[in-house]
Amino acid sequence: MTTTLAKPDYDVLNVLALKKMAGAPAIAAVVELSPDDVEERLASLAAGGLAVVAGGAALPTDEAEPRLAATAAEIYAGVRGDDDVLALVEQFEKTNAALLTTMSSWQQVDVGGRKVANDHTDAAYDGKVISRLERLVGRLDGLIAALARHDARFATYATRFATALAGIDDGDHDLVSSPTRDSIHTVWFEFHEDLLRTLGRERAE
């Protein structure tokens, strides 16, 4: 048994591990492979004991994480040694904190010192939060571009952010923080997780 994965297999298993349970079409949309191709790779990952496929959806097995980590260490050695990327990652930590704070102000408003669920009746308030989110997402451009220079797949995050923002502009406010859709927070959370795996770091919270 090899200790590392082939590149497209890594991409597929990586997305599967981020989403935990996903069908081939959902994975294909993110990794820019055809659903048939993803289907095939899932089958071979399943044969290798890294995934379980049942009823059109796949799940990663416990073996998936260590294998992904070992593979990332190899294929992203260049990223981990790229000072440009590391400087941008440093900045990302600040932006990440600002994004989470902004997400929270989307969900809750301060009432006399207590946090209360935002009932979204104050369009001016919501508008400001959305504008701020858009700007914070814009601050990832540099990091995404720097990562994409090593591995083009990172560019899909920019596309996903743009799609979510366009949906929000169309009035679909679920696309701000809904955990069950490809919302700004979902994309951001997956990007953050992906970034940690790429760099071989642990999540702090």
Binding site: L18, V111, G127, S131, D169, S177, S178
Partner: protein, 830 residues
Amino acid sequence: MSAPGWTRAFTDDGEVDVELLGGKGAGLVRMTRDGLRVPPGCVVVTTACHLYLDRGALPDGLVDELRDRLSAMEAATGRTFGTGPEPLLVSVRSGAPVSMPGMMDTVLNLGLSREAAIAIAERAGDTAFMADLVARFHAMYSEIVLGALDERDAVDAVVARIRPDDDPADAYERVWAAAEAALDEELAESVPAVPDEQLRHAVEAVFRSWNTRRARTYREHHGIPHDMGTAVVVQAMVFGNLDDSSGSGVVFTRNPVTGEPGLYGEYLAHSQGEDVVAGTRTPDPVARALPAPLLRELEGACAGLEARHGDVLDVEFTVERGVVWFLQVRSAKRTPEAAVRIAADLLRDGTASPSRALSLVTAEQLRAAARPGFDGDALDEARAAGRVVVTGIGACPGQVSGELVLDPDRAKDRADAGADVVLARAVTSPADLHGMIAARGIVTATGGSTSHAAVVARALGTACVVGAGELEIDAAARTVRVGERVLAEGDPVSLDGASGELVAGALPTTTPAAATEAMDALLTAATQASGAAVLARVTVPADVVAAREAGATGIVTAVDDVLAASGDLNHLVETLLEKGWDGGGSGTALDEVRQAVARQVSGLLAEAGGADVDVRAIDLLADESRELLQQTAVTTRHPELALPLGVPALVAAQRAGLALAAAESGYGGRMRLAVRHVSDPAEVRALAEADGAGPGMGTYLTSPRAVLNADALAAHSAVVWLEVRALQAAMFGIPARQFLTAAPLDSYVARGLLSTDPRHAIDPSVEPLLAGLAEVARAHPDVPVGVRLSGTVSDAVAAQLYALGFRRFAVDLPEVRPLLLGLGRAALAQ
């Protein structure tokens, strides 16, 4: 002054027309007319915006008019725009008739020419104060008017080096040059140093912001016309940071957390409004921090405002050298508990009319306020007994009990099996989502109130505690350790998402008495207005008590639900499979039905008092039964069960059981037994001809055919219910069970493939059927005709059904109060 009409002073007479003055402008005019001391200013009206956007230049005469308005503001304040000895500074704000995102925000401190800046430093005796003001203005103008985004560390460094006694002219030059350099580097732009130009550009920027991409998209989505245009508010600045007799604050006319009467707010001496908002310094409670005469003035003004508006308000003010100025008055944001108490209090003391009071609470706030919390005594006891395992940071409020589970897969499995689950994790990753969705509560060892876990939990509305750092989760041993205490997976725990406490053991829940009292007062007013009856769907005796407390005038229940909850149903189905329908004697399936119904329903009737009880007969094909039963086996063996009167003896056995239950429990109200899927007058006649004593027979309409035949059906029914979900499902041709869950309809509707989401709105195709049924109800005043609604009921649906003429409703228990409120509002709006 004879102004031609591009501008209006706050003090000018004339109609307060929001279309013309915008929301902000109209608000300031009203405040001025209310006698509040508002800093003088004027509104550039929306018609000027139309013209500007049409021809790309400000209307002729607007600049001169603004100059005249500034002169009036100069006269009123004793200050001069752009020069000393007392410079007048103004704020420029956008104010559309409807607030919308993407519009230009506020520019403060406009009017800082070199001369004005120097004069301000000299008047204040503080060059550092002026340097800060200049830097803030330049940054704000750059951001708002020119679109700059960058942080300006270099400018901040220059400002930080300036001392109060530095030479003002020199300081101004240094700050301005640094700010200009930063802006030039970022955008190759420049901020005009001449105040008149600053003002003109700011007004034009407001007008242009009407057409930003986001504002256009927003208008298109909300059907707001593009030619509405925005107004611009130009107002004299007042300063709370001049000296110790100045300051700024925000007050609520009542406590927005609890709803208690009395001013509630904060004041920060020697500060400008942004300092209070930014939280850089801690403000003091107004009652302590404001000098007595000012506090009295504020209290008087707030009482007057509350009486005029019939609502609790949030008031922003600034004190400049001992004089209070009112900057903004808005409806106050509040907690759900406060919303209910405030509405009830204002209704009682006559400040708000019933229709006003009911408009002060949303259905969502009512649901939240009615949500049961931990019993106070039990919680105190648990605390005293040392059962609080750990206290983290409350991230999403909610008080829940459940079994402790340590991984998301198991959380999902246990929840699927019907258990309430509290999920404990060291950290959460995106891959934990399925477990977080399944859990009633989430607790994590790491993270702050703005961690990913907190964001996800809030999006899900799940009680959540984060940052419970002492929690050591041992995945291998399947235990949680905190110091000496060890909890094992599966142990009952309770979680408070507000206080952050994790408590060992399950805690009982209740609705707080104070909240119940306030809700009752409001809902009584609502019911008086609507004259509607709302019945609650229940399955166990405790539900009946809760239903009556919530204001339900009766209950609806279903024999299969009751028997499933009591555990009788499975045995019944086994007997049926084994013995079929034969015979009615002891030990047969029919006898078992009769006995079980008598036994279980009598418990409900005992709690019902004299309230109406409508019982739906067993429907083994219903979606609700599908999960519970070996349904396929039963219906394959007994296809006659698919028809409402396929087994007449089954209906008769239930009726006999209900008669026994009524006798046993001493029930004295009206009870009826209704059969689902009936659609033919012949079926109803057959039901009505039932022999012997027992409840009257009625119908549950589920199909378009039944609704179209409703007139004939009602003629022979003791009661008629329409199941809206079933009817909508039939019209859409989608199985009704798909209406109960998020998947698959959420994404289907999001793709724009259905013009109506049948879970949340009544489809236009269904409306004529409903109108026909409402007509039938009017034609048969002696037959109760009601509408059964599933899940949460929106105000829009309540209003629609009320307008059609329906006055009898049945809903799930938690929806009784929100529906009573919605119907009351609908009645008062008519």
